[in-house]
Amino acid sequence: MNEVTKIDGIGSSVRRTEDKKFLTGKGRYTDDINRPGQVQAYFLRSDVAHAEIKSIDTKAAQSAPGVVGVFTGSDIAADKVGGPICGWVVPCRDGSSTKEPPHPLLAQGKVRFVGDAVAVVVAETMEQAKSAAELIDVDYNELTPVVDFVNAEKGTQIHEEVPNNCYFDWELGDESATNKAIESAAKVVKLSVRNNRLVPNAMEPRSALAEYDSLDESYTLYTTSQNPHLTRLVLAAFMFAIPESKLRVIAPDVGGGFGSKIYVYIEEAVCVWASKKIGRPVKWTADRTQAFLTDCHGRDHVNDVQLALDEKNKIIGLRVDTVCNLGAYLSAFSVVVPTILHGTLLSGQYDIPAIYTNVKGMATNTVNVDAYRGAGRPEATYLLERTMETAAKEVGMDPAEFRRINFIPKDAFPYQTQVALQYDIGDYEPHLDKAMEMIDYSNFEKRRAEAAKRGMYRGIGMSSYIEACGLAPSAVVGALGGRVGQWESASVRVNPTGTISVFTGSHSHGQGHATTFAQIVADKLGIPMENVEVIHGDTDKTPFGMGSYGSRSLASGGSAISKAVDKIINKSKKIAAHLLEASEDDIDFKDGKFVVGGTDKEKAFSEIALAAYVPHNYPLETLEPGLEENAFYDPTNFVFPSGTHIAEVEIDPATGVVEVVDWAACDDFGNLVNPMIVEGQVHGGIAQGIGQALLEDAHYDENGQLLTASYMDYCMPRADDLPSFKVGYTNTPCTHNDLGVKGCGEAGAIASPPALINAVIDALSPLGVTDMSMPATSQKVWKAIQESQSVAAE
């Protein structure tokens, strides 16, 4: 092993160590894995949105070629297998709790959305399974579907347990103080916005491969998961009532998640169950249409906003009334997304003395809605930043200056918001200033005038967002209704030669943990990065961990690794003191060497490692041999990244096409471990936000049929829809984790939709356009232009 002085540590844009396998086709995703004797599962799904099941006849399918099993909800019920559970509930205004209807693995008595699984056919090949599924005869008694979530209260009741189709009616903040502020305001700005429904669309469709070993009565499940330990916990404890030790969950390479692979879906559970029933490994992989129909969707809110201003244009109150669509069943984090992760963000970057919000979560005959990149925070940011821009225009202030006078001043941190969160640190003017400089804000009107000469409408819009990520601490999460802890784990094993194996509870599905986490370890131990291997995604290898979502991996998982390394260093000092015949207090650790202070006596890290495993000269009376440490880190607070994004657009009135011509993003993520990876996260987030603002919309018709269930119908952002991005940073290091890091994964998706819609409205403002809903498609924009021109002509 080489000991080198120069290392690629924290702060270096090290090229990713995981790249080579992906670039050479050696990535190993779930569908790439095959087991001997494996059979294929195909799910027969409801083609109606809401119906009672009168009968299911599977006889013909049972005897079709290649079929080894056909199962329905009654088989699941007979085996007493539980369904997916809700991981978070909130109290309602009337004192009751969230209504949690059961979600059976296969429909029992009723189907509740197009795509609801009615039966599973297991056959030698997928083609045989599909052909046999066509022979199943399901007799439905169709019921009126509930699709319009805003009026869902009046619709046919979907679940016995959910009166008025309302899962919860929740509130946060001081209603009376907020209403008083609104009544006494010099001006109240009112805005209604809709946060359009999106499909996460990780490029790798969900997949599961389950195998039962009858010798030791245990299961192995390979699956597309962002958090394999949670999957194991839910399957073992809530569905199959087996000890966790009897189920190994492996999430190998996972092709993107964006929230959609957090939850345990019915398909992987059915594969696990069927693998024992049939006695052969059972595999299922979604095609894209199934992904559209059954992956949890995101967003789908309407928000009524009232922003109260005093005579100096300072905000004195904010009231937001929200109705959101949660779909046919409650998914794991359906409830927390529009409540805790939405309501608590409503203060944004602003000093707001009174805030109140009410959220109603509705059941509809559409697929479940849950977390999608940002999860609640994009919705909060969208309504707030659209309202800030609208307010600025109504009071005749530059939007940047209006934000500036309302920012929480930098000497006010830690800042207690009126919606439960306490921001530990932040400084908002620098990223506003820098973003304005990056996009040359001061010369924008010249560019607008130049564009006008070409017959184009040019606009600029901004968004100053706050994000709360790395949910914590667990005690607070529990008090807010969470049923899980929110710590993260790490195990750092120093091998006898001094190489390191890091086992993390986080899961990488594109984020580059193998590189970033290795950088942290290499930096702290002063060893080359190539000596550090990061292992994740296998419950038999890694300690119990919470996985990756909510931009938590570095702040929570990275901090756990840092703490485990600190323990390694502490033990190593004891070993070094013994070897160097010095007092432990006199040992300094620097650049990978343990040195007796003020002398040239030293031991390299690799020598300590060897001594720990070959303890011939070792303080065995007081110290155990070996060098391996665990850490479970429960952060004391959320982390609060913030930033300003500014979008500049040009609109062609002949076509209504919005071209994003420039983008400046200036973010405060605290300290950066790998700036290259962080920048990639920002790019990806912005692209998804631009997709939401201009292109994407999951649309159900009045019968509950998903009209946008393929890439022919759901408009994904493509390379020629997007610009290059300017990315910059400011830095106020997080005060409560060792690394001073925040999170960066969701920021782009949170910041970008309001910036872009503000820019579109600004571009059309000469025509008198003051509002625009998402997505601002070319058709919608073209119509707005036509309508404004016809109004002008009258």
Partner: protein, 155 residues
């Protein structure tokens, strides 16, 4: 059923497959090369792009039978032993991939695009990648990668 023979990454592969077998299933399931991916079922996402007689093709959109006698290169056949193809190297250096799922198709499309147009512009790259969807990168670094790859390939 019928026998199909084709050259895959320089190696002759002869398999007895059903007539309706798609080329992507021939490659992934019958030969067992899983580097080429399936991300959709409407020929939109481009995760399955391979080279068929030097032309980039979506392997989900043709029958294996139609590829009889052809020479196919997949992502597994692009590198020269341990040495990455200049385009693969450019994706690595420019952080042109995150989850890696769309990457094989992206790289295969990029190689063909640049082979045909050595002095490719950013605009041409963006238009050329219209048939390849990536959800992770926002394309910024993919475009930079293709530019750098083009330079390495002698553009």
């Amino acid at each position: 059923m019928g026998e199909i023979s084709l050259k895959l990454n320089g190696k002759l592969e002869t398999k007895d497959v059903a007539d309706n077998t798609l080329l992507i299933d021939f490659i992934r399931e019958h030969v067992g090369l899983t580097g080429t991916h399936v991300g959709c079922d409407t020929s939109q996402c481009g995760a399955c792009v391979i080279h068929l007689d030097g032309v980039s093709v979506k392997a989900c959109t043709m029958l294996a039978k139609q590829a009889e006698g052809s020479e196919i290169v997949t992502i597994e056949g692009l590198a020269d032993g341990d040495e990455l193809h200049p385009m693969q190297q450019a994706f690595h250096e420019n952080h042109g991939l995150q989850c890696g799922f769309c990457t094989p198709g992206m790289v295969m499309s990029a190689v063909e695009m640049v082979t045909k147009n050595k002095n490719i512009s950013e605009d041409e790259i963006r238009k050329g990648l219209e048939g390849n969807i990536c959800r992770c990168t926002g394309y910024h670094n993919i475009v930079q990668s293709v530019k750098a790859g083009a330079a390495k390939m002698g553009g």
